[in-house]
Amino acid sequence: MANLETIEQALEKVKDPEIPVLTIKDLGVLRGLERAEDGSLKVIITPTYSGCPAMYTIEQSIKQVLTRLGEETVTIETRLDPAWTTDWMTEEAKQKLQDFGIAPPEGSSADKRALFGEEKQVTCPHCKSRNTFMKSQFGSTACKSLYQCWDCEEPFDYFKCL
């Protein structure tokens, strides 16, 4: 039976299938590990969005890693509260997103006002121009909006604040 530290290090490498430069640790999806007295292991994760289809794949990857480490009884608990927020994303993760061509979340989580919130100023990950605009609030996955840059004219994904 591997110790928790080894397990944690192995799990931290599990990638988000939709944004393969980020690990579940970078995202803050991995919330904790608990070893019960009977030797079984519990992995606590939190979903980014309620309907995020990546969660199923992430669970499968976690199980695979743990099976390889010789774990026999594994349960994965999905914890909703406190709700996931982009504030948990590490600075390193934001840099990785930027390098991958996705603009990282700017500022802290979504402003409270739902109606007519002002548009965020987002930096183009390609040419670093601030002269960009939102094309669509919803992008290729639940966590992203679609933006375009006025200067280099490239469209790009923005990882929106939640």
């Binding site: 979903p47 969005y49 309620s50 309907g51 995020c52 289809p53 199923y56 909703l80 509260d81 406190p82 709700a83 996931w84 927020t85 989580s109 979504a110 409270k112 739902a114 109606l115 007519f116 919130g117 094309k135 669509s136 609030q137 919803f138 992008g139 290729s140 996955t141 639940a142 679609l146 929106k160 939640l162």
Partner: protein
Amino acid sequence: MEQEKQKAALNLSLVMGDNALILGHRLSEWCGHGPILEQDIALSNIALDLIGQARLWLSHAGKLQGGKSEDDLAYHRDVFDFHNFQMVETPNGHWGKTLLRQFLYDAWHHAMLQKLVLAQDEDIAGIARKSLKEVNYHLRWSSEWVIRLGDGTEESAAKMQDAYADVWPYVGELLQKDFWLKELDQWIPGFTADEILAQWWKTVREVFSQANLPAEPMDWLYRKGHLGHHTEHLGFILAEMQFLPRAYPDATW
């Protein structure tokens, strides 16, 4: 007392879960048919959020019913066991109608969740906190569209009037102060149904005033979707949604 609280939690979870499930299913019908790619994707994203939220609510409802699963509830109940509002099961119609229906539901959903996050029931507050973050984006998107279309071209404005004539008669059900709504004061200190409804009216008036639509109460029919009395449309939705797990009960992903 405990039993009553649990019953209230079950009723709430079913109303919230079934609304999210049925509306999510309706929106998923747009997938591949949206007017432009970006908006097609937007609706699919909202559908995904709603179906995700439905899973949370129905899992909770299943737990309260002694260990049923979310799938038991989604796939193995019949029309009269569903607690969604009649409005969310109505056909999508044109883009404007889908958007107006979405906005009216989002405004209600948002007002409800803002209260439910204060619930002393940790499970319910947890689901509400998770959902509220997503519904913020839904409401913003649908309200912008209602204004853009209502205050847009002659044609879009005419279509919104059309949509209004279709959808507004169903709104009454969102505003009924029924038992399941009144029961919530058991775990939300100071909760009153009136507060939710006032918030709904405020949002709707603010948006409608810019969309050139009248936000006037009408003599609404007493609709009882939340009690299992549905329009003929729900049966067709369920037939499609439930076919596979009923025909092939052992099917897994």
